[in-house]
Symmetry: C2
């Protein structure tokens, strides 16, 4: 079960940290470009430097796909570098009609052996069911995203509550049947994050928006974690992996991850003792 | 301009037909499996047999991606087989935060030279703007999809109209700024299709759901086409490309496409003379 694996890892490693692998040839340290396989070396070194701190890695699939064929090789090699005591989440934001979703579910869960995936809710149940039917995998449904455009539709008022809350409630229903659902809720909406957590106390949250996007860590922990301060993944991508663009990039990434984790755990304790 | 190209092709070829290339190793004629590159041969023969009838092809990206590296080769070769007097739409249903969407836009519009793409609206403007900014390309935004799950969120009531209508209205706004937006509206919701057409008279519609999904062609034409009975693409995938699984598959696909186009044009005339 995905949720069991997640809470087990949270306890074992005393961490909620997810590192987003938004790996981009224009952003990695320049000195790596003279190597044969710079993106693979970059990911491998970042993972090696942070895998005792992180409980999850989240490759953003767009960054790999857009490299064409070499991107899929890179994804394969990256997954090989991630130790088994870390969860791997495909940040794919897919959603399509049934026969197509099944293809995607097979790609990410069977061919690439991801533990979890992010999916878009707009097309409804049959666009998500193919993922839900994979036992043991986690399905993070976009609920309230961290980007400015979240205001356009997610906040529309549906029967006196915002659309994102309807998505959360529908996800709770699906979770009753399948037991493997979670929600993506951006740290850039701290108070709304609290109301979603109140409505869905038992669901894992994947919280992006910390770091480069400016989301607030204090409120993410305060409002986003459940009563055991678990079942939550705090994701940071650029602020960790691009913390330095020099030879020491892996070490500086580790320090940045460590600082973030220390702060996460300090805030978890503040919350527990509140 | 995408819209100019579309209306030009509609007139020139007297067609609204889009052929969906949901190419699947399990569905293509068995005798092709002994060839070296069966999926490529299948697509090439289907395209050769239908390209005077169709004004557009729509490869469903999931079917290619899920083949891994060989799927991207297949996509490349398929695009090479499509003559220049046809539009090529990437049915990708993407939508992600700005820096990620830009990556996708580059992949589909620059690397693969697609004319248009389908995108998911849930994450709002900044998840779509990277696509909109590509001049000359068409952006079809999921509005009311053809699948059963469309009921889950798209019909939610927002200020006395359904969510899909809010998506249509927002798309009209974006189109005023960029001039290259269209809507995906399923043929399985004939009356709602009419109300969306009424709200968005000038936008191209991509209408899936005819054929295997059971959408009604009469109502798709009656309600979906604009006043010049143009600016509309009627998509059929499985009912054309898998019309026969024997040696005559390309010929039968052509006949199926021809029958559909004849019926489309008969109904367009009925509407014009109504």
């Amino acid at each position: 079960m995905f949720k069991t694996k997640l809470s087990h890892l949270i306890k074992e490693k005393n961490s909620l940290l997810c590192v987003g692998l938004d790996t981009d040839i224009e952003q990695i340290p320049k000195f790596l470009l003279k190597e044969k396989d710079p993106l693979n070396i970059f990911n491998r070194e970042i993972i090696k430097a942070t895998s005792d701190l992180a409980i999850a890695y989240k490759p953003n699939i767009a960054f790999y796909e857009t490299l064409g064929i070499s991107g899929w090789y890179l994804l394969e090699k990256t997954l090989e570098s991630i130790p088994s005591n870390c969860i791997v989440i495909a940040d794919a934001k897919r959603g399509d009609i049934g026969n197509t979703s099944r293809k995607y579910a097979e790609l990410f869960f069977q061919s690439y052996q991801f533990d979890a995936i992010t999916v878009s809710p707009y097309m409804g149940f049959d666009s998500i069911s193919a993922f839900l039917e994979f036992e043991g995998k986690g399905i993070f449904i976009l609920c309230l995203t961290s980007n400015p455009g979240s205001i356009d539709f997610q906040y529309l008022n549906v029967e006196s509550e915002p659309l994102y809350m309807k998505v959360a409630r529908k996800t709770i229903e699906w979770d009753l049947d399948y037991g493997n659902c979670g929600l993506v809720v951006g740290a850039t909406h701290p108070e709304d994050l609290g109301s979603i957590r109140e409505a869905a106390p038992g669901l894992p949250f994947l919280i992006p928006g910390i770091g480069a996007q400016g989301g607030n860590l204090y409120t993410a922990i305060q409002y986003g974690t459940d009563s055991q301060a678990g079942s939550t993944l705090i994701n940071a991508s650029r602020s960790i992996i691009y913390a330095s663009k020099e030879k020491d990039f892996a070490e500086v990434a580790r320090n940045s991850a460590k600082d973030l984790l220390t702060e996460i755990n300090r805030l978890r304790n503040v919350k527990l003792n509140y």
